[in-house]
Each structure stands twice: as structure tokens, then as C-alpha cells.
């Protein structure tokens, strides 16, 4: 474990301008995010609506999308998810949690030539499929992985 690196980064984070601005109430967290915030998509209730707003209703299943997430979440409040898209020309990667009231959890726009890889933490209220929608050119592709959220205890 690299303890020095951790201590350094903690210090750096505390002193960083963005964090300070948020802490001082200068910026609302949403304003820190991408300027073109797709409010309608993030507010959509239920999967059909969320897919519709993302314009991805007929997305094709793709084996070129890999979702790395735990089979059973250690903490439903922060579930680590990594997505890799090997689809040429991947321009955006969206992560949706089917059983969350507002399924769209993250949507990453990737600049030209960026690797089709994102890593984030999502919140899950209950066991659900985590669906990924990748856009490339004019087409949408999708893949899914189930993540179990359990009350815990009672093991071994």
C-alpha cells in the first residue's frame, strides 16, 4: 500500500480549487459537471423513459462492451463500476440501474479518439441489472450485468 501517495492526495484534494469552490457554495455540484447536462435523461423515471430520452430504445446487444462490477455489492451506496467499450468510434457511455427510480446514473461523453473506458461509483437501492448504453456513430449498443444488493450477515 502506498500510504504516502494517499496522504498527499488527501491534502491535494482538500486544497484543490474545485473542491474549495463547492465547499464555499460557489458552485452547485451539478454545475461542476459537464455543461451540457442532459437533465431530461437524468430525471427520467423508469427504464423505457430513460432509454427513450437517451435515444437508445432499440440498442443492440454487444459483446464488445465489458462491465466490471461486483456480483454482490459491498455497499449499495457506492458500487464500483468499470465499463470498457471496444466498439470503434465510441462517443458516449451511459450507465443505468434498472431498478433505481431514476435509472440513468452516469453518462460520459468521450472526445474523439478517447479510449472507450470509464470507471465510476454508482448508488443502488436494491438488486438490479446494471445496463450500459454505448453510442458509436449513429448507433446504440447495450450490455447488462446483475449486481446483487443484500442486507448482509449470516455468512459462513
Amino acid at each position: 500500500m502506498n500510504t504516502k501517495r494517499r496522504t498527499f492526495l488527501k491534502g491535494a484534494g482538500a486544497a484543490g480549487t474545485v473542491a474549495v469552490a463547492v465547499a464555499a457554495g460557489l458552485l452547485k455540484p451539478t454545475e461542476v459537471l459537464a455543461a451540457e447536462w442532459n437533465k431530461a435523461a437524468f430525471d427520467a423515471k423508469g427504464m423505457p423513459d430513460a432509454l427513450k430520452v437517451l435515444n437508445a430504445t432499440g440498442a443492440a446487444d454487444s459483446k464488445d462492451i465489458t462491465i466490471k462490477a461486483p456480483d454482490i455489492a459491498e455497499n449499495g451506496a457506492v458500487v464500483p463500476v468499470e465499463v470498457t467499450s471496444k466498439i470503434a468510434g465510441t462517443s458516449s457511455i451511459a450507465i443505468l440501474v434498472e431498478k433505481n427510480a431514476a435509472p440513468l446514473t452516469a453518462n460520459f461523453d468521450l472526445a474523439n479518439g478517447a479510449d472507450g473506458y470509464v470507471s465510476t461509483r454508482i448508488k443502488m437501492g436494491q438488486t438490479s441489472n446494471v445496463r450500459v448504453v454505448v453510442k458509436a456513430g449513429a448507433k446504440s449498443y447495450t450490455a447488462v450485468k446483475e449486481v446483487k444488493v443484500t442486507i448482509g450477515g449470516c455468512g459462513g
Partner: protein
Amino acid sequence: MSMTRREFLEVMAVAAASGMALNSRQALAGEVPKNFYELPKFGNVSFMHFTDCHAQLLPVYFREPNVNIGVGGAYGKAPHLVGDHFLKAYGIKPGSIDAHAFTQLDFVAAAKTYGKVGGFAHLATLIKNIRAQRPGSLLLDSGDTWQGSGTAYWTNGADMVGAQKMLGVNVMAPHWEFTLGAERVKEIVEKDFKGSVDFVAQNVKTADFGDQVFKPYVIKNVNGVPVAIIGQAFPYTPVANPRHFTPDWTFGIQDDSLQKFVDEARGKGAKVVVVLSHNGMDVDLKMATRVTGVDVIFGGHTHDAIPQAIPVKNSKGTTLVTNAGSNGKFLGVMDLDVKNGKVVGYKYRLLPVFSNLIEADKPMADYIKKVRAPFETKLNEKLAVTEDFLYRRGNFNGTFDQVIVDALIEVKGADMAFSPGFRWGTSLIPGDTITMERVLDQTCITYPATTLNEMTGQQIKEVLEDVGDNLFNPDPYYQQGGDMVRVGGLQYTINPNEKVSRRVSNMVLRGKAVDPNKKYLVAGWASVQENVTGTPIWDVVAEYLKNVKVIKKVKPNQPKLIGMSKNPGMQE
């Protein structure tokens, strides 16, 4: 009543001579094959393996389950075979010493014949003998070693750490160890184990950067052959046990990371690669199909004692999977024949450790006496006597679980009680005194607080469904490896073949259907939440036992099962 083997045989001879009718089950041979512990040497790389001893330093009784249901792809396959199904699958003679070791059949009678199992002093003698025949062999421990007894709890695992070092454990992998807290684990690994025991866990990483917390593997030279031992901690430690003990670490199965370390170890010249695992056997069997380049997985967690190694095919070869029981009851011996950098043959035996058949190792016996000395009075406190056979292991309530939930309902004034489906906990035969030590065998954890909560009928159902899915999900990667939560007061029906939220039905309390909206008082213990306070479970059970004085006939509250009548993972 306990008898020596000689006495038993004399009784049997008299019975036979007087024409007493004995059914085949009762007429146990009581014979121990002469070569029971003789293992002809084979190959050039040998491992000895034990797992899930749960801090049992002294010999105990431990009954294997009569309910260990397999669903989906696990139906009718090891480890989901019990009783006669098990004997048939492994060609074990009914009534033999092996039948007693590996199954629940005629447990009480056979336990009186063959006596207790395990104990580190007996294990030590066996290990010394095998080591003498197999110079250079490695001793592997799959974990759950620092938890399960009063002395392990009171010494913060120190009694077991000392015993492991005396036993000559070379490499270990963890699970319950983490319930001593991250700092204590680091202290033992970095100080006590330094230069003696390698503590390996490829799937424990820091939550922030994903750095390895422990060594993922070690490479040892065994008789000229480089051997890599990769550790796999219990993947769901922060789910099944309180996360607050290891708040900065993340676990999980992590096949891809394991594959990376297998390849790395091979790249460094390892000619044999083994995984020392605390996955649980079903997870081991699935993992063996997905990860390539592993010669053997030595597993634990689910307490399955499987007498043979199971060969599992994957895209690049075959991996042998073994699981070695629990409670110090078994020692696995794996001999590999390695020629020209490849494993070309193997022999595996899972030896039951019968304490009466193996002389105690003097230094270890002295050590155990010494570590117990400050606690003997407390351990030996007599709480009650049992007239019935008390045990835990099995998918649903055992008789000792029943005593625990009865105690919770009585002492806490609850409508019903929940007790965790732990697989550890020793057995008592009729006539045994229930001492504080035996109660601690069933309950001793670092989060022992008992609770009394109001729960709606709906919430109660959700708990049963949730735990039911951890046990009966057809995909092993979604299982946590414990048994079903034990329930007192509440009756229910379960269909293991159903999907989550549809397995449990007909919940009834005192003859009345449970109302989803009504609140009930539910007693429990072992909450995974932080800062839970309450009387430790062992004090609640002790209070109850001191009141009742004698445990008479115990009828475990088992659910009604649907679709399981022919399942070979069940036998009455």
C-alpha cells in the same frame, strides 16, 4: 457414556453371542483399518491442508449435515450429497469409520464408538508423521482459524497464532480473521507471522486505489520445484460480516485479477500453481472453469469434507478442487508428481483426525494447556445437561440453534427470533454437560450483541428471501456460503428452486398467518451494523440454560420444503 474402542468391541461380541438383534446401522463394525493413517509416498511435491478449524484447539464432536441442498447445476453433485447418497458416490462402506467421519449417519452411536475428532495436539502428531515421510511438504491453512472459541476471542486470536506457528503452517488465507479488525490483522501478519507464515490474499485491495493489502501469492521451492501459492480471501467478507471491521478494503471474487497473478507466477518460473481459497466449494468449482493455469484449488468456507479431488476442465486444462471440512476434523494430503515442469499425476486423501487413534503431541498439548489456563474456570462453568443430541450444521435449524432461538425468545421477550446460519459450532451427545465453552463454540464472535427490534411481516419475509437467495441462488458467485437464517417462533414454507422474493410462503406465527403490515418483536444477534449494543448472545444463552438446567427433547423448527423430496442433498 463413552467407551474405548476395545470396550465397544467387547460389548459387540457379547451382543452377537447372545443373539441380540442388531440392525445393520447399529451394528457398527467399530473397526479401524490397520493402515488408516498410512499413506504411501507419491510424487515429489506434497501439500497438507486444513481449513475452518474455528479455533478448536481441543478435540470435539462435529456432525456433518443431513441437509445440504444443491439447486441448479449443483443438484446431486458434491458437495451437495449427504448420508447414503454420499457413501454411494464415494464408495464408502456403511457403518465404517469413514462413514462416521463423512456423514451424519448414526452419529451419536458412532461418536461413542470412535470418540472425538481434531484437536491441535493430535493434528500436530499427524502432520509431523506426514512431514517426516514427505520432506519439504507445505502446510496450508484456508483460514477461519482465529475465531470460534472463547480463548481466541479473549486473546484476540493470539492463542491460535501461536498454535499455527507451532504446527508449522506455511501459508494461510483469511475470512473470519478480519472480524478481529484491520489493525489487528495487520499486526499479526507483519509482526507475529514475519518470517514464518505467509498470509496471502489476491482479492483484498484498498478501496481508494485498488492497491494490494497483502501479498497476493508466494513462490516456494519444494524439492527443487518452484511452487506458487495464491491466496483467495472470502470474497464477501464485508457483506456477510460487518464492513466496519475493514472499512478501507474491498474484496470480491476477482477472477481477472487471479488470472493475472497465475500468469505472473508462471512467468516467474512457477511450475506448480495452487490457489489457497476461502471461496466456498461451489465458488471454487465455478472459478476452476473460468481461471486457467491453476493445478489445484485447496478450498474452505462451506465446511464441505469431500474425500476426493474433483477435476474441473477449463479452456486450457484441468484444475483439481478439494475442500477439507472443518473444526480440525480433517487433514488433506495432496501428492503431486511433477516431471519436466508439469504435474503428471496426483494422489489425494482427506484424513479424518480421530483423537483416540493419534497420540497427542506433547509440546502442543502443553501449549494448549498453558493458553487455556487463565480461562479454565470460565470455560468449564456448567450451565445445563443435555438429554438430546445437539448440533448446528445443515441448511436449516439444528438442535443447538433451536436452543439459541428459544433462549432469545424467552430472555428477550420476543415473538420470534433470528440466529445466523453459521456453519461452525460443535456437537454435543446426549448426557453431555453444556459448559460455557460449548456455548461459546456456537456464538463467539466480535459483534455478539443481542437485539430486539420491531419488524413488519413484510420486512421479516424480505430477510428470509434475502438469506434464502444467498444460499439457493443457482449461480454460486451470488452465494455467500452460510446456511439459512435460523428462526424461532415463525413457521414458513420454502421452495429453494424458486427465484428471489418468491421462495418463501405460508409464514405463520402461533397458528396465525403473518400480516405483512403488522409489527412483530424480533430478537436477534450478530448485526452487521456499527455501534449495536446489547447483552452478548452467550450470556443470553447461558442465562436460559441455567434456568432450564436440563435440555430434554429438542425439535428443530424446520421449514416445510417444496420440490426437495428427491434431492440427494437431504436425508432424514
